[in-house]
Symmetry: C2
Subunit: 194 residues, 2 copies
DNA sequence: CCTACCGATCGGTAGG
DNA sequence: CCTACCGATCGGTAGG
């Protein structure tokens, strides 16, 4: 029991250290030795917990999904509330650059179809677009969107905007305000502009 | 003379091969041996032309700047024409994924301040935002923009949108239309919506 | 979990 | 431009 609990904590430590390393160096560039060093064990000690480098990446992505799923319950059905919660997420991210780096670096690395996280990001983008599109559609039906705003295109724009802002902000934190830019963009799409 | 010309051609070959490798693997992951293999020389033969790995990266970025400068003369003063030429660029990029990969991968890698291309991308983003902002400002003064569209924020949005679309498109080419999405977005900002 | 090791690969240098 | 080499580092395995 005690041994099991200790193992679980150690695994969580390793996953957190790996996420940090992937954010700083990318997945391929991050070494098992560096991650192990952050946790205070040898690199083969790490391989006792995760049999391969790729298994550790999978664990990192699964933990992110678990965190996201826990948050997703907060914003319920598609609609304006979803978009507001995504703006809140951007505000939250402004105080947590490590998470932003993790996603931005892995997403760019995983454009190659042979990257082990490629499928993960393809699904991630599709789900995000679907959720945002459904939200814009609900808003259009409620008469909240300006005429001529297409929910499908607006969804692709919104997701791309969030991603592009992250890279620009990481590169030049003082010159880009993610939250305000997103908020202003959304106002542009609303009938009453508020 | 003949020797010099041959050397120049060889250098151009190496730069092109390096750009391809950076697009596929990123700068840090791309090896001198792989790049040399593409050109048909040894990796130390490559180091005869470029003394360090970083010198080769600098050469790749300088060549991109030279190509961009040649194109820039085409779109003249800030204004709607600049934005149209950027949409054309997106259309052009749709047929040249290698260039898109090069930029997307290097930009994400270079968010770290200690990356050798960090300064390059910080300048690149600043210049792009300035040009687009000046263009939106000119359009606002000509009465072409909808009320409430702020040129400064619209510029950040436009650049972020272009970048974010590229990663989404590279990940799922069949699910994202970069050109149409950009065009639709621009129409949203215009007074007459055309 | 560790030590000790493997084969492979890396950027760069020496010397021609 | 090449061959030959350097020290460093990589992911993974053997054996405990």
């Amino acid at each position: 029991m005690v041994g099991y609990a200790k193992g679980r904590v150690r695994r969580e430590d390793i996953i957190a250290a790996a996420a940090a390393a992937y954010g700083e160096s990318g997945y391929r560039q991050a070494s098992l030795r560096d991650i192990a060093r952050r946790v205070g064990i040898s690199h083969s000690g790490l391989l006792y917990h995760f049999p391969t480098k790729e298994a550790l990446l999978t664990a990192v992505l699964e933990r992110r999904d678990a965190v996201d799923a826990a948050r997703e319950r907060l914003h319920g059905p598609p609609g304006a509330a979803v978009l507001r919660s995504m703006v809140s997420l951007a505000a939250h991210n402004t105080d947590h650059p490590a998470i932003v780096e993790l996603y931005s670096r892995l997403a760019a690395e995983a454009v190659s179809p042979d990257h082990p996280a490629h499928g993960y990001f393809a699904r991630h983008y599709r789900r995000a677009r679907d959720l945002v599109r459904a939200s814009f559609t609900a808003m259009a039906e409620a008469g909240e969107l300006r005429d001529g705003v297409d929910p499908d295109r607006a969804a692709t724009v919104f997701i791309a905007l969030m991603d592009g802002l992250q890279v620009q902000w990481l590169t030049s934190p003082d010159e880009v305000d993610m939250t305000a830019t997103l908020r202003t963009h959304l106002a542009t799409l609303l009938r009453d502009g508020s």
